[in-house]
């Protein structure tokens, strides 16, 4: 789509538009934080010429709680309930990367069963998020029905979470050293029933959303990520896979039990909103399959937690590490520095949204139509709390 640049501002030598608001040619509007068209609590400062965006700035910090500071004054075990709030919709990746970082620095051997349970929880979390975002992409175009269905199915997965972990949103299940519970009786059967429902749902949204002419019109060829941007903007996960890069932490750096599971991420090249959503739908199908595989392989007996030192004065050896996992949005990593004391020296979280929703979004929105802003944001699957933490 080559836009007519004649009405756009001159560019300065760095390529930035020279926008003179007083010239009355431009409108500046703020989208968010109190706006139904933003994902979560963040805002966009958009400069428009007509209905096309000439300049976009992402503003974050509305959800800043200073976790990285707070965790510096918490024991390692106390970091565990704290850190999971860094990304609300998919809290389990936070738990996992924290536990993995601690375990990497201390060389604790995690029991087999705990590893399987961790894998299960991570996949359930992915399923739960994708049930929200895949039909949610259509909801941005006011095609809300799929979203209503997906939200109901997601709630059933949350019920399974509640049974297994004791919590609906914040599961606090993957604790440093292991996990916090065994599979409840009858869990597999109830889960299987939910998975069947989800498979049926995937078939339905195929017709309801992916074959929908409105959806196609509004998403095919819109919000394109150029493949050359992938390394330039640090794009990961489904967004990179839609642009032709097979990037999946589960395959590339197999952690937990992913080596023993059979799955293949989908890679596409069109790299528009539609393709990204197809990739996510494929992830959803993969995840359903993975959960079946995990439930079949999970050992009946075994410990759920390794023996650790007394958590009240657990000192982690001096060192630093970076541990990653594949969240539904892509590579999710934690950089941890320990100075050998009971408190972490520094914990830094690398969420995919950090690059997706700031530098990439600012780039993608230029020349976009204002009506597509919401779709583009949702297609990048931005999660504001992990940007500012």
């Amino acid at each position: 789509m080559q836009a007519d640049r004649s009405k756009y501002p001159e560019l300065d030598k760095n390529g930035n538009p020279i926008v003179d608001l007083s010239s009355q040619k431009y409108t500046k509007i703020w989208q968010g934080p109190n706006h139904p068209g933003v994902t979560g609590n963040m805002s966009l400062e958009l400069t428009l010429s007509g209905d096309e965006i000439v300049e976009a700035k992402t503003h974050v910090g509305y959800l800043h709680r200073g976790f990285e500071k707070l965790m510096e004054r918490r024991l390692y075990i106390q970091c565990f309930p704290t850190c999971i709030r860094m990304c609300v919709p998919e809290a389990d990746s936070n738990e996992y990367v924290l536990a993995a970082s601690i375990e990497n620095l201390t060389d604790i051997e995690i029991p087999e069963k705990a590893l399987w349970l961790r894998t299960l929880v991570l996949e359930m979390a992915r399923l739960q998020v994708l049930l929200r975002t895949v039909p949610g992409q259509a909801s941005t175009l006011s095609l809300g029905l799929g979203g209503q269905w997906g939200m109901y199915l997601r709630d059933l997965i949350l019920d399974r979470f509640e049974e297994l972990t004791g919590g609906r949103i914040y599961h606090m299940f993957i604790i440093p050293g292991g996990v916090r519970g065994h599979l409840p009786d009858g869990f597999k059967e109830r889960m299987e029933e939910n998975l069947k429902g989800i498979e049926e749902f995937v078939g339905k949204i195929e017709n309801l959303i992916f074959n929908n002419s409105i959806f196609k019109k509004r998403t095919v060829g819109v919000g394109v990520i150029d493949p050359s941007w992938v390394s330039k903007y640090g794009i990961v996960g489904p967004n990179a896979r839609a642009a032709g890069f097979n990037r999946d932490v589960r395959k590339d750096y197999p952690y937990l039990k992913y080596k023993e599971l059979d799955f293949e991420p989908l890679v596409a090249t069109d790299s528009d909103i539609y393709t990204r959503n197809v990739i996510r739908k494929h992830d959803l199908i993969t995840t359903v399959d993975l959960i079946r595989q995990i439930l079949a392989k999970i050992p009946e007996k075994g410990d759920i937690r390794a023996t650790t030192p007394n958590v009240l004065h657990w000192e982690i050896p001096k060192g630093e590490t970076y541990q990653r996992s594949e969240s539904s949005r892509g590579e999710y990593g934690m950089y941890m520095v320990s100075d050998g004391s009971k408190y972490p020296r520094r914990i830094n979280l690398r969420g995919p949204s950090y690059t997706h929703a700031v530098s990439l979004l600012e780039k993608m929105l230029i020349n976009a139509n204002i009506a597509d802003v919401h779709s583009i944001m949702v297609s990048l699957q931005t999660c504001p709390p992990e940007i500012e933490r």
Binding site: V60, G234, Y322, N348, L360
Partner: protein, 177 residues
């Protein structure tokens, strides 16, 4: 992996190589050579994915440690590059020209640690905080609890007792220390 080190060790004065994981290494580089090392790794060695940039405050040594983590997606290896800068002046060469999102990281470091990256786009704009007028909050000498207690009206009326002290007081009321 090791041949990369052999190669760069000659050109850049790197020290303290720590093999943390089978595909994760940390090394220390001098401040002046860091950006050129990163450029080298990106352009020659295929470390095309920039993972993160962050700082660690070693207040006792009067130093900030900056950590750049780079990833080679083809060979699937990570390198963490540490560099130490003086805490008082806290300035570092910008690397925003290598990846677009580095500028965001540098903006955050400017705001949260007070580390300046001259030349980095929008580095002086507020990123996360709004109207912050105290010392940068991620610095170790900023006491967040004290700040919160002084600023945010915690709900009053809470009082806790230490079991040991309380028991001594109760069981041996006429003892004094």
């Amino acid at each position: 992996m090791d041949n990369i080190f052999d190669d760069i060790q000659k050109r850049f004065e790197i020290t303290d190589i720590v093999k943390q994981d089978k595909n994760l290494n940390f090394l220390t580089c001098k401040k002046e050579l860091t950006v050129s090392l990163i450029t080298h790794l990106k352009n020659i060695e295929g470390f095309s994915h920039f993972v993160l940039l962050t700082a660690v405050d070693w207040i006792e040594d009067e130093k900030f440690q900056l950590t750049y983590i780079l990833n080679n997606p083809d060979k699937r290896i990570d390198i963490g590059i540490r560099t130490y800068i003086d805490r008082g002046t806290a300035t570092m060469d910008t690397a925003h020209h290598l990846w677009e999102h580095v500028a965001t990281y540098q903006r955050e470091l400017k705001e949260m640690f007070g580390i300046d990256f001259p030349g980095s786009p929008r580095v002086d704009e507020q990123f996360i905080l709004e109207g912050w007028d105290d010392i940068p909050p991620y610095r170790r000498d900023f006491d967040t609890l004290k700040y919160a207690e002084e600023t945010f009206f915690p709900r009053e009326g809470r009082k806790s007792n230490d079991p040991a002290e309380y028991m001594k007081k109760k069981l041996y009321p006429d003892e004094e220390k």
